[in-house]
């Protein structure tokens, strides 16, 4: 418990979290502070490239784990199953329509790569090692949740448009391609490659993350300011409860797989986090009648800040305790 609290305190006072808080505060105060769209996208390209590359280098250093395949499979299953749990929970806790509930559920099966990045940086500061291939697992967990949600909807007789174009858009969306591509580049070039570009991908990483989270805070705060009316008590409670449930599923899977304590923590983080880029885009195409205000506010305005501030230290503490790490 003490460990959790101290980790949480350190986490809360890191420049990374405070930058996010600054963004939220600026938005709520209606400041015109904003990060240009192109700059925000450039920062995310940097983060995806760096995290993928470093994951690949780490795999090249430690060799492929026999667990790689199993962990990928576990990720896919988690991503597919979590929406079912989320959907059931939403039916019980909220009065959302089946359509809105299915759309929200898709977000919670999928993942938030920034939450993952923030977690890796906490692990690093605490000196806790993790499997390099977890970035590949993150990529694998993006899409299956969408399929589950659409299946939920089709069962209830609602039509939806799931064409091959959309499949390509989801599976080859820029974030996945960049993350996986950088992972393979890191794997292929190894420590030598890392040496060449480490003053780009390693040294300034945390600082870039600060600015990116500043922007995330601005967007999340703006969403809360403008759309917080969708956050009825039941919906809000779901946004705080679901990540905890997700993390427990991730914990179970991680322990079964025998991952390192860092690996378990990251699988918990992935399961606990909710998408706010890939899945909303897919939902706009496939379920345009679902209300974006609900899923965006929940995912970006509630679950993301919860994971960033309290969730990550909690998951890390639980993972290290349970793995005896």
């Amino acid at each position: 418990m003490e460990q959790i609290l101290s980790l949480a305190a350190t986490n809360l006072l890191s420049p990374i979290i405070l930058s996010f808080a600054l963004g939220v505060a600026a938005s709520l105060a209606r400041s015109d502070l904003s990060v240009p769209e192109a700059a925000a996208k450039a920062l995310s390209i940097y983060l995806l490239f760096a995290i993928g590359f470093k994951g690949g280098v780490s795999v090249s250093a430690h060799g492929i784990d026999v667990k790689l395949g199993l962990t990928l499979l576990a990720g896919v299953i988690l991503s597919a199953v979590l929406p079912l749990i989320a959907f059931a929970l939403l039916q019980v806790m909220t009065r959302l329509s089946r359509l809105d509930a299915a759309a929200v559920a898709a977000h919670y099966g999928s993942i938030s790569i920034v939450t993952f990045v923030a977690a890796t940086s906490v692990l690093e500061s605490s000196g806790i090692a993790s499997e390099g291939y977890m970035v590949a697992v993150a990529a694998a967990m993006e899409a299956p949740a969408i399929l589950s949600a659409l299946w939920l909807i089709s069962r209830s007789g609602n039509g939806q448009r799931m064409d091959s174009t959309l499949w390509r858009e989801i599976l080859l969306n820029g974030s996945i391609v960049l993350l996986v591509g950088a992972f393979f580049i890191g794997w292929a070039t190894g420590e030598e490659g890392l040496e060449e570009i480490s003053s780009f991908v390693v040294a300034p990483f945390k600082g870039v993350l600060c600015l990116f989270l500043l922007d995330m805070g601005l967007v999340a705060g703006r969403g809360l300011r403008e759309r917080s009316d969708v956050l009825r008590p039941g919906v809000l409670a779901f946004g705080l409860l679901m990540p905890v449930i997700g993390s427990l599923c991730g914990l179970g899977a991680g322990l079964l797989l025998g991952l390192s304590s860092g690996g378990v923590a990251l699988l918990m983080v992935l399961s606990a986090s909710a998408s706010y880029i890939a899945v909303p885009a897919a939902m706009r195409v496939a379920l345009p009648e679902a209300n974006p205000a609900i899923y965006l506010t929940l995912s970006l305005g509630v679950t993301f800040p919860f994971n960033l501030t309290l969730g990550i230290p909690l998951y890390v503490a639980v993972a290290t305790t349970m793995t005896g790490g």
């Binding site: 904003s34 990060v35 240009p36 769209e37 925000a40 448009r161 174009t165 995330m216 601005l218 967007v219 703006r222 969403g223 403008e226 759309r227 706010y276 880029i277 890939a278 909303p280 885009a281 939902m283 706009r284 195409v285 345009p288 009648e289 974006p292 205000a293 965006l296 970006l300």
Partner: protein, 103 residues
């Protein structure tokens, strides 16, 4: 200078639907169009701005097609199919064009 009658159709639509719209246009034999960026807007589904978005889900674009009057109906049918279930606005204006052989 010699000008010719034409129709100018402007379709404001979610960016994520752009490729679907332009494919529908192509299949209706509309091969000419221009896409403008949109900074923000407001409508029945609320207000949004590009600065307040993460990712590409909710940004919008404006697609402009200039067509001969006789092609208008086919264009509108094709566009309507795409915008029907989505948010978006379609306007049609009478215009004149130079170099009519291009349309």
């Amino acid at each position: 200078m010699q000008t010719h009658q034409a129709k100018r159709v402007e379709i404001t639509i979610e960016a994520i639907m752009q490729s679907r719209l332009t494919e529908a246009l192509l299949s209706a034999d509309v091969t000419g169009f221009t896409v403008l960026p949109v900074l923000g807007g407001s409508g029945r589904s609320g207000a949004w701005t590009r600065a307040g978005e993460i990712g590409r889900a909710s940004g919008m674009v404006q697609v402009i097609c200039i067509v001969r009057p006789e092609k208008l109906d086919k264009l509108l049918d094709a566009a309507f199919d795409v915008v029907e279930r989505h948010i978006g606005v379609v306007t049609i204006v009478d215009c004149e064009v130079l170099r009519a052989e291009r349309f």
